[in-house]
Symmetry: C2
Subunit: 550 residues, 2 copies
């Protein structure tokens, strides 16, 4: 062997790193005239690029540079999209402040992420005034105001650097963005979880570019719900929530017209859908339900709207309702830790001829991994389980865009990544057709009489009983069985359903072999409302604390 | 600012590198039953994976490991596809030996790449016997034989390690592939060029994965010529030629049925097209012409065949002939140095309603950059030129998959990458619709009377004159004008066309403003054939040497 063949690594004298800036430049060059709409404002991509330059110039004047952190508290606006690009392109970190957290938690995340500058929608001024004194790292605040008026605010000594539009007008569009390493951190977001303090996840330029490309590949190759450049995009997942699932980057890469809805009001969302011909959105099941239930929906044509559902399980009944309205609804799966998309339940061509009922069930699964994702279900010893539609195991994943851990939390990071796989904490089965179904959260599985009972499965059955509006099932300690399921039900109106009706339905399901007989709860507790987390998920921890000893 | 915010790079404790192994594993897991056909052999992707394991095990027994180089001399076969995966997945480098080079050049490339092991189709045994004594680094030869017979060969002391199928049968499928850095070199190929020694280009795992994904994105997003999983793939660009333009990796990622045609015989190619329902191929214009001219083509349904053309300019007339037969023909552009794909001339939806003549012209352009490619036309001072359809400049590119240089040629590498952009040596204009048109090779531009004359443009006009089969235009020194164009023409049959007919056609084109009047050659030289390079390109260097002083 010749010594020359020993060179193993390619010298990278001329690297072309995977950078957010390259995505933007390409999108603007290919689609300069595509539009971005928010309220009364409408900008072309060419203007987006110019405004991104101005924003960077204005932030640089406030001391932002490589390694700085810029926090943003805003609804879904063109400004947020500008921050998606400008802040990482400067080599700074965009902290998408989770405004649904409690004020104490928001203070915690801003201090923990060490935000240097905060961009704050004036609607949050009362909150900001309340917490300003506790912010240890913030040096200045920029106000975001749809009216574009410069405002004053008493921020307990915190410097108000001015209003966003005024700063942009005064700034130069010719800011020279630095050359960056693709592993430069680009964004951070704090997950809510249902236990403990918020945990910060973080993503690099490389990770966001690869996530975007893989999403584009998945959405472009689908037999339905396929995006093309004529689509009109409107997010209905908050932009602070892991970059609105990364979809604004996808929409921009594709050159789509984009409509930003601000705060979510069902009537306004439906109006925007009609007014701008929105064809592509994504949201949590609750929002989909709200849209379908809104009085305005009766007079709105919803057909052909491609909607990706995530955040929590999509009930098949809701999927069917959406399909009946012509919505091309499909479930995605992921979490803040995973940037977030891992799987999407795009149907195969032949499944599109199934009846709506069967389609709804399939679309409500979490689907197949998108490109570049390696996904397994494993037992407690990390053995891979078969794709037989029965074996349930924890979902573990690898992909080029997963958070490398939790910010400043080495132990939590190690737990998350034990065995070299990211542990989702979700229990799932994989059907022979490759579709993943999440059956439960690992911590919500009820261990009763040596069997694992899926609380989600019981919830699904109870939800189908007429008169049931909401349901949550938890495990409560039991001397004989270890744990027993306990069901909480919110009736659609008082007295709409009885315990016995629910239990009978479950017994029938057990006799039909659809659930284990251990899975039938001993009793039903009726509530007026089920406690939720800040992002609207059922808060089982609160239920356990309140009822767990009962 | 807090010190914690200074962490600029994401720690990569849990990397998920971009590796060829991950592509294969995903493809096999998603499409285990998809088929790979070569002659009488037919394997599933599951078997492909198993055979890749066996091949690696067999090669390891011959001493191949990280940093080794394995040369392959084969036609387009399933074996070559197995090498595309097994060799790089071992951490070794696959040297796709350019079998169209002269024996001396082949010796040079094998020694220069320092191949440790050579896999050689028995059809090349006469050649191998002739050159074996000059190979300085090769330790053993594996014979590739469609009959699967173990053969003996007198290789002047070179060890014959046995026959491919026999080695695979004796090997274990459970070879444990090593964890690799994504920048590990995966493949190397020697470009022919028309001057000097062959030059080695090389690509890493990361580069091949990103090239594959970007090609998938481009092919999946196209308004026509769109690939989906029902397509059947057959390369008609040699696999040694920069991995058959990377398309076997694309086809495998998509789970397509793949048909490998061995050596190209038009009748056999057409038979395979019919027999296996081939819908996706790629080739040079000459092959397309051969297919259309083949007597068998008259009785073969060619409609719906998606064919990407590259390697040299596609004449619009040929594109139109292909369209008339229902072939969805489209031009791609790239070179060995660029892995190779840079642009593809996919039409926009509205262009698909143009008449065939207009479509053919558009499809014969080289199109728009695929995702992740940054492409400019620049003047001699590297200033970017406008996309006005008129300004001609050198095409320079950046993308994550370009060769980092030429193997063991630091000066050539520096020239290739001057100014931080890869210089293609091609002259192009970009139309307002973003389509790149290559007008010439930088070195083939004729500088006459202070004007730049495109030899390709004159060639195009001459090719349209009835009776002209082939044409080549070069610049010859001229005292008064600096250079003057000289045209070489091969008539379709002796006497089919006269000098005067050609010159008149060119003068009419000049009067119509289609070419400059300086571009009309002073004379036409008729030849029986035009000299070609080893890959079938017109060898202008040979013409210049022979006629340049005339």
């Amino acid at each position: 062997m010749d010594a020359t063949s020993r060179t193993e690594r390619t010298p990278s004298a001329y690297p072309y790193p995977l950078l957010i800036r390259h995505m933007l430049e390409r999108a603007v060059s290919d689609h300069p005239a595509s539009l971005i709409v928010y309220g009364q404002t409408c900008h072309s991509y060419r203007q987006l690029r110019e405004r991104v330059g101005r924003l960077a110039d204005a932030l640089a004047a406030l001391g932002v540079g490589r390694g700085s952190t810029v926090g943003v508290m805003d609804w879904d606006t063109n400004r947020y999209l500008e921050c998606f690009y400008a802040v990482p392109m400067m080599g700074a970190v965009l902290h998408m402040v989770n405004v649904r957290l409690s004020p104490e938690q928001i203070v915690y995340t801003i201090n923990h992420a060490a935000d240097d500058i905060l961009l704050v929608n004036v609607e949050f001024l009362p909150l900001l005034e309340r917490i300003a004194g506790q912010l240890r790292t913030v040096r200045a605040v920029v106000l975001l105001d749809d009216e574009g008026k410069a405002r004053e605010a008493d921020l307990q000594g915190l410097r108000c650097a001015g209003e966003y539009e005024a700063l942009l007008s005064a700034a130069s569009p010719d800011y020279l963005f630095p050359e960056l390493d693709e592993d430069t951190r680009a964004t951070t977001f704090y997950t809510t979880g249902t236990t403990g303090l918020p945990k910060g996840v973080f993503f690099s330029h490389r990770q966001l570019v690869l996530h975007t490309i893989a999403c584009q590949l998945a959405l472009g190759a689908a037999a339905h719900c396929r995006l093309d450049k004529r689509d009109v995009y409107m997010p209905i997942t908050p932009m602070f929530h892991v970059h609105a699932w990364g979809m604004p980057y996808v929409a921009t890469n594709l050159g789509l017209k984009q409509v930003y809805p601000g705060r979510y009001v069902p009537e306004r969302l439906l109006k925007l859908r009609t007014e701008h011909g929105v064809t592509f959105s994504h949201c949590v099941p609750t929002i989909l339900q709200m849209l379908l239930m809104s009085p305005a929906s009766a007079t709105t044509d919803l057909s052909g709207w491609k909607v990706i559902i995530g955040g929590s399980a999509l009930p098949a009944a809701l999927a069917k309702s959406a399909l009946e309205r012509g919505i091309d609804v499909v479930t995605g799966y992921g979490m803040s830790e995973t940037c977030p998309i891992l799987t999407v339940a795009f149907l195969d061509e032949d499944m599109l001829s199934w009846d709506l009922e069967a389609q709804a069930r399939q679309r409500a699964k979490t689907g197949r991994p998108i490109p570049l994702v390696q996904l397994r279900i494993v037992d407690g010893a990390m053995n891979e389980l078969p794709h037989d539609g029965k074996s349930a195991g924890e979902v573990v994943v690898r992909a080029p865009w997963l958070t490398q851990g939790y910010l400043h939390d080495p132990e939590g990071s190690e737990r998350l990544w034990r065995g070299g796989w990211l542990h989702t904490g979700d229990i799932g089965v994989i059907d022979p057709d490759g579709f993943l179904r999440i059956t439960d959260r690992l911590k919500d599985v009820i261990k009763s009489g040596g069997e694992w009972i899926s609380s989600l499965e019981i919830e699904g059955h109870i939800l189908r009983v007429p008169g049931v509006a909401e349901v949550a099932v938890i495990g409560v300690p039991d001397e004989r069985w270890g744990e027993r399921p306990l069901a909480f039900v919110v009736p659609s109106r008082p007295g709409a359903v009885s315990s016995e009706e629910i239990l009978q339905a479950l017994r029938r399901a057990a006799e039909a072999g659809e659930i284990s007989r251990y899975a039938v709860p001993d009793r039903i507790v009726f509530l007026e409302e089920i406690p939720k987390t800040s992002v609207g998920k059922i808060n089982k921890r609160a239920l356990r604390e309140r009822y767990g000893a009962a």
